[in-house]
Symmetry: C2
Subunit: 502 residues, 2 copies
């Protein structure tokens, strides 16, 4: 066997070992966020710390780096799978290697403690319980930025980790365009003579019936229940163990079916992505979504572009009425569809409507940028949060629970993540237009079989896993780079329809 | 710091690391036996293999063995926790180290193949499919006994691994006494004029109501739901992540409540043991039940001694009727209690009643002993099995599925394990008599608060974890070694009561 072949096999095996530890860690996280008994969390944090440290150690171990360095020098001669692994692991190694092992381990322990404190703070609706942990998390993150190397700005360094190639310069421009358009459109809807009412959705829908209906929808979408499951949690998420085990979670409110039903459609979009990565990547670090912005394009395509559309509910409203019976028996399709798409300023991101959602993200983007680029004081966050909600949405939270404590992201140190949601929506709208070149979406949805839609997404997005850069995916699938026009067109069309605007 | 102190700290940390990997592995097992999506299992096996190998590696690593060897030489000077860890890890290392790594790995592969063959053989009800694998497993085990060192007999070596200090000499005598007594008592019950009927228990009891009732009972027993949970599975078990996270599982049959209700009481006994080990052992390998015979003494104390007793059901039958309503409205307490304790020869161990259960175990004990000490030919097993069932229970299996293929233990190489079940029952009966010296069990149960019972078990058994040998636990708690008199007295009293014998 040639040296290249031997090293390739050895290196692939090392990558698989790392992925297996990541699978164990993913299961630990899933368990901590779904069903772990409260008294088990403290000792479990040790397991999180240990597995994280081992992943770190293996990803930077001399025997691994030696293989990686060698394969980089012969990159054109190795097979494509190994080539993609080399690119991916080089990136990870650069992130990992910069940080001293003991600081990384301490940070991992801190993360899981901060999540517990966040949960406790929510129970008490008291930001002060969470604040010291958040300060520590941010201090670590700032130190890490120093290790990684500051890009154009400190916050650019974080952005790039979630969305390779994304910068504050691009986002400032794109987000400003979206913000203006959304605020203008919001005003138009507020001034419209036709005002659909959303409160007619606040009707009883039993949890078990919501589950049954959601399972039907997920099945239509192409979620494979032999390769996934649904569980209860506080803050919904999707998480992958391996391609045959991709889990989604949700929270139920019997007087607000949107939380679980649309939440599961959203998480289902994430899960379908990871269930449909090319099988040859399974068990390797390539078997993941490539970036948050692409990941969210899948969840938001299903939740918003498709799952809140007229065509989608024309296909599903009768079944919905059946499961919720008799609650929606007297609600016409038109009223239901309009109610679903009502826009109204609100305080909680995950309950926000499609239009104002963008503003929730832009607020978080601006705050994160201020924390890292302008050293915004952590104890000021609730006040800044309040002020921005007041300015963009015209309303403000009464307490920390419906304000600063609503998202788990910061407890996990995930700064630079929020913009991905809006990027995802931008990408989703751009993908939809491309999809229409070969698929009549409305006609497909009307058949009740959405397979063609899933297949298009698999062919253009899912299959590549981490082996193709986000920018390349978007350019190849849609013919151009990020363009806010598509989202603005989409929102304008949707809201003109719902509010009967000219 | 002295060298002893430094090495002690370092060694304790190494032990905690091993335990953390064991916690991760326990979660993986729990997940694979409760909710893993079917397509996720193949990749997950890689995780099992990886974590198992890492635990093996850490437990025999030079840097670990060096500390262990050093601390053994200064055993009297280290603190008690470290001392107990040294004893425990020396035992483990001796088991691991004796076997060449390649043979151990080959054996692990064989185990999983043998389990698959066992499963296949069950589907076909054909022992011949399983036989060659069983032969290989036994051949390995015999070779391993050579490595570990043969005690008084080859089978003694295996017994000692599950029950330190237990020997063929002791068991031959104790089991013979039990066998005689049980067979005699069984004949008496068969000849009794009063014959209670067990089939009146076969009435509908909805799953969710069974859960609610079982949760009430478990709470009374002292199971801490903040430190544990209940899940569905095919083959019920209890499994510990850490002291704050001890999980039990069960299977529901709406026409046979005993499966889940008594099953949960049984698994609850295991779980209460591990929830109540001294907190200073949490996160170390000492935080486990000390042996199978002691573990089963806890589960069987709760299931049989307490959970099938007159006093227990006097306290709980009204609640039971309430939850099962109206199914048991017309069943008197006396009929219910008698039905619960009916004895009748049967073929399947896990469905056997309290009295005949002992004979199922003794049959397995005698066969295992013959395999290892008298080279009983593996192809003769079905015939020997049949003959022994005929001799002791008066019935014989029609096929391999209800005979030799009913248990998974041998496929996994777990020879020497079965006796623990009967040892558990013997220990439970002996502990009960000791408990009566300070606690009026019936009066306590009648109050509906069983805390005093749990506290006695914690004080005398649970708290020690693996830091006290099983024999020492029994002698200190009961004042004497294993004595079959207590179980025989218990069974005699219970069955005289139920069958109204003189």
């Amino acid at each position: 066997m040639t040296e290249i072949k031997t090293v390739s096999i050895n290196f692939t095996k090392q990558c698989q070992t790392i992925k297996s530890y990541e699978e164990a860690l993913a299961l630990v996280y899933w368990d901590m966020r779904t069903g772990i008994p409260p008294k088990g969390t403290q000792q479990r944090s040790e397991v999180v710390g240990l597995l994280s440290a081992e992943i770190f150690r293996l990803s930077t171990a001399p025997e691994f780096m030696k293989n990686l360095t060698f394969l980089k020098t012969v990159q054109d001669e190795v097979e494509p799978l190994v080539q993609a692994l080399v690119i991916e692991m080089s990136k990870k190694a650069a992130l990992f290697e910069a940080i001293p092992a003991d600081e990384y381990a301490a940070y991992a322990v801190l993360q899981s403690k901060a999540e517990a404190a966040w949960s406790e703070a929510r129970d008490q609706s008291d930001y002060k319980i969470f604040q010291p942990h958040l300060e520590e998390i941010i201090a670590y993150k700032k130190k890490f930025i120093g290790y990684w190397g500051k890009k154009a700005t400190a916050y650019d360094t974080l952005l790039d980790q979630f969305e390779p190639g994304m910068t504050v310069a691009i986002l400032d421009e794109v987000f400003a365009e979206v913000r203006e358009a959304v605020i203008a459109l919001l005003k138009q809807t507020q001034a419209a003579p036709h005002q659909p009412k959303s409160n007619l959705l606040e009707r009883s829908f039993a949890k078990d019936k919501q589950i049954a209906f959601s399972r039907e929808i997920l099945t239509k979408m192409g979620f494979d229940f032999e390769a996934g499951r649904i569980d209860d949690t506080i803050h919904p998420f999707a998480i992958t163990m391996n391609q045959g085990d991709v889990r989604i979670t949700t929270r139920y409110d019997e007087m607000n079916f949107k939380m679980a039903v649309l939440g599961l459609i959203h998480e289902g979009g994430h899960a379908i992505y990871e269930q449909n990565i090319a099988p040859e990547y399974d068990g390797t670090p390539l078997s993941e979504g490539v970036s948050m912005g692409i990941h969210e394009s899948q969840s938001l395509f299903y939740e918003i572009i498709l799952g809140s559309s007229r065509a989608f509910w024309e296909d599903n409203y009768a079944r919905f009425q059946h499961y919720a019976a008799p609650s929606f028996d007297d609600v016409s399709f038109e009223s239901f569809y309009e109610a679903l798409n009502v826009t109204e300023p609100s305080l909680v991101r995950i309950e926000a409507d499609i239009l104002t959602y963008a503003l929730h993200i832009i607020i978080r983007y601006e705050i994160e940028k201020a924390i890292f680029n302008d050293n915004l004081d952590v104890k000021e966050l609730p006040a800044v949060w309040k002020a921005k909600y007041k300015e963009y949405l015209g309303i403000e939270p009464k307490n920390d629970l419906e304000g600063i404590l609503q998202d788990i992201h910061w407890a996990g140190g995930d700064f630079g993540y929020f913009p991905s949601y809006l990027l995802g929506l931008l990408n989703a709208a751009q993908l939809e237009v491309a999809m229409r070149q070969t698929i009549d979406i409305e006609a497909t949805v009307a058949t009740g079989d959405y397979t063609a839609i899933k297949n298009w997404l698999t062919e253009n997005v899912h299959q590549f896993g981490k082996a193709k850069e986000p920018l390349a995916i978007m350019v190849d699938a849609t013919g151009e780079k990020l363009n806010p026009k598509y989202l603005i067109d989409f929102l304008t069309k949707r809201y003109k329809d719902v509010y009967k605007l000219k």
